[in-house]
Symmetry: C6
Subunit: 220 residues, 6 copies
């Protein structure tokens, strides 16, 4: 049984799309940011692959701290709890990667996530969005739950022709390459202006000519 | 065999409702707050799902520190022990979520919990109350134990017509959406007046225009 | 084979009563308090339930620090070793709860425990004594070992009529509700005068009107 | 299904070559360096051997800090995440050693890795490159993915004659002895000039005559 | 095959007696004390019971710090390695308790242990010596190895009549009640004069009338 | 397939001898010392016994810090990685003890190890060398690999007559009692002059009359 979608845009709450042998379903992912010491707790009976996916999502977030308007070491003074209700249902797989990354980005920036959109896609450490399985079933589940806009990996365009007529005509489908596009679409507010970033601690350790991402030997 | 209910309202002690193949039963949940270093210890032969449920309950509490009249970093200097007697009986499932959250809230605020009320419901990180199973058996167990008031998830209203006449007429049933409602009903004292809250540590890290939950880009 | 009882009242050494398919037996529980960093080590091939029981016993002790004449944060600078010889025999179950709590209380206060008394009972975090099984076999084992006084849960009064004539007439049986009664009977010395207590650290964090266990809203 | 190779040289992203019963495939390895406390997190469903291989790669990097232009204790203030997508596919074996070491070196020095090259080889703590299996299948996979240059262990020269004509004539093959050669070939920029190095902390602990790698007794 | 006994009295090296289905054997136990942070490492393929036995031995040592002439918090600045060669042979059981405690006492006080004596016995936290099995086989193994003096539990006197004539007439047998007796016999030097001791840290925390082991209420 | 021996004496690299049902083989053991916090990482698919053996080797090294010209607390500021390639081959047993100790000693003192020598032997915490199995097969493997000098336990002299004529006449065999002899033979440089040593931290804690290894009571 699908939970109904929440009633207003919320901070740290994102609608993901899951797929089992029984068909597709929507899956809320929620994140709370707490005063703490740099610990992430993933709960909701998440399998190994899904837990690693949460770690990858968090690493992408940490590597994009400047982009999100956060200090580079923001992670040191907070704890993060990422939960996927319903708590008794085992869940696994990498396809919640972008959902978890979006929930993290929203909880940290306090920019709400659009409640009328769902998403699915594996994430890499650099925020590339990798293809997933079960697209048709997932989009049907979104449609059933009353969600008519969805984000999915660009590499899943190959599945477009197999989607039911209903989905292709009544839903707005975003095929994306990167997490930056996901946040652009899914957040109900704008991130600060993007600038190229260098980890500050590292920057101070490097000889001057190697700072700012352009090593001296590669400059010539 | 059901334990009898305790004789007066106590701090950190809440009556939950459990359900097994053998029928329903009441289940005391107790919390002690100790001088410590930010560690929670759940005991009572709790399964994985129930332990994650305790973590979710604690996260909700931590995210609501201001609301409960506690400093945001209250968690750093205490240890919390959450125990569900009887210690030899294995227990599992997410439906003790609101019971554990109520016990935590009471132990931290030192406001006693009403001894004449029982409860059941899954909790999310934002304190939403999700539906549970076995409602009929649970309420019959409460009734047998001499408890005539109960709190349960709003989504379980669908089970109302299946409840025995006895329960529907002799018990006061609260169908709730959120933990805030649970505390309003179950605590034998009032919480401090609610105000909208922002994690302080984070607040100091964010650029001024993003503080207080309304990002600048979303304001226009 | 039962160990014989030790020859004089000792600090941190308590005689418990155990029960297996082979009958009852007495079981010494010993506690040493060491200079340390707040770690408890339970040994003696203790099963999961019994280890959780030791944790519950310790939490009750920590929550009763003032009552025992100890500073609230006494736990930070000591290590505690709780051992149940004989080391090769696996042991489990919750019924050593009050035995372990008594050994802890004695080791911390340095008040000896009476050597001529045995005990059995599950403990809760608030020091309530819950009923146990195998009472007849346990009391017969105490009698065989030359112990003629025993402490057990008040809820086990239901088993009184099933006890052998020998036990009922020759032994002094204490049916108790709480750990406070257990210590009153078992310690060979008196605890400091009891006073109502509030965790100090917490107290300083709370708004003045909520201190001392009576929330302002409940006072009216 | 092979992922396609990324479109430009990137920092911390390297194309490795893997081999299963189903044939060879290319396998991206990516590394992110984060503000942190000296923790490495390997993800991507990596088996025990592959995780130890990641540790060996990191140790080689740490032992070569000066060579890479990094302070000797660079590791203390960063966290490293090494991920091998696709996250749901289990991976194991030692042959990604040099791939992981190259990704680490690139992420730490911020010198990009050439996108038109692939590699395979076990690594030792001293950066020696040990032979691997499945060379033919791996090179065919590289060729299929449109990569025509590859790095492999010198000891695999014994497999040269068994390689298909296509591979031997159309690909540029580097048979190497050491990680230094790997970096020389794979990085799209030059490392700082190499100098002989001594761990500084240790150096300060040793009597003067033993410093700088030449023990006094061996000097005569 | 028995190892031969070492050639001179050594610090931290004690000959224990073990017993398997194949008969008895001698078993060296060795302890090294290192500059460190309060960690004990037991090695030699020791089973659970034997590892707990090592913990009990260490606790007794820590509780007897003054008696051994060590500061109460000696444990904080050292690491202890307890090893039982031969490293490939699995060992278990509680009967090496007094052997391990003697090795610890010797390594910490630097008083050598007599090489011409062997021992067996379970230890409790208070240094009581509990009975063990296989006494005949163990003493025969000591005799075979050329050791003619042995320490064993007083409760094993019941086995005396079953010992072979050879053992009873040619060996010097010590039946002991406590670890204090064991050290008196086994150490090749004298411990400092015994004085009654109180954990200092605790002492400072207690109200004056409860210090020095005699609670005020028990004094009258 | 045996790895070939490396081409020059190296620091922290030692040739050990292993033995399986398939015969003997040589096995390189390598150690890197890194700036760190006192952590040892053993890798190379090492079994439990072999990992404990690495710990025993490290303890012997730590207990001999002065002898090796290192400060007593050298371990606090370094991490040690001990690796036994090839990474995919599971290895176990205690006979690499002296090989690992030699690699550690070399890596810490920076005195190279002779490349033309191989070794096998179990180590104890005091650096005694215990006998091992499969000597014939091991020496044959060394011979095949072009190594004509080997170190082995004195207790294995009993196997001398069973060695093939080839080995007995063409190889230089060292039968040793202690690690001190191993280092004397295997290091390509001399250690600083040996002096009797006392752990400094401990020394400061002991009453003056017990310092320097001769307790006052044993002096008379
Ligand atoms: Ca930066
Ligand atoms: Ca930083
Ligand atoms: Ca705030
Ligand atoms: Ca804060
Ligand atoms: Ca207080
Ligand atoms: Ca306190
Ligand atoms: Ca240096
Ligand atoms: Ca350094
Ligand atoms: Ca003292
Ligand atoms: Ca102290
Ligand atoms: Ca010294
Ligand atoms: Ca020191």
């Amino acid at each position: 049984r699908d939970s109904q979608v929440h009633e207003k845009n919320e901070v740290g709450l994102v609608t993901g799309l899951a797929w089992t042998e029984l068909g597709g379903s929507i899956l809320q992912t929620e994140v709370q940011v707490l005063d703490g010491k740099g610990k992430m707790t993933p709960t909701g009976q998440l399998g190994d692959v899904m837990q690693e996916s949460a770690q990858a999502a968090l690493t992408w977030i940490r590597s994009r701290a400047h982009h999100l308007g956060l200090p580079e070491d923001f992670y040191r003074n907070i704890d993060i709890h990422l939960h996927v209700p319903e708590g008794a249902i085992p869940k696994d797989g990498p396809s919640a990667g972008i959902t978890m990354a979006t929930a993290l980005a929203s909880a940290l920036t306090k920019i709400p996530v659009r409640r009328d959109i769902a998403m699915t896609g594996e994430i890499t450490l650099r925020g590339k969005v990798l293809p997933i399985g079960g697209l048709k079933e997932k989009l049907l589940a979104a449609h059933r739950a009353g969600i008519f806009e969805a984000i999915m990996p660009a590499d899943n365009k190959r599945d477009f022709n197999d989607l039911p007529e209903l989905i292709r005509t009544s839903m707005k489908l975003h095929f994306v390459e990167s997490m930056d596009e996901v946040l652009e679409i899914a957040l109900a507010g704008k991130l600060p202006k993007l600038e190229e970033e260098t980890p500050q601690a590292l920057e101070q350790m490097l000889p001057p000519q190697q700072r700012d991402g352009v090593p001296s030997s590669a400059r010539q």
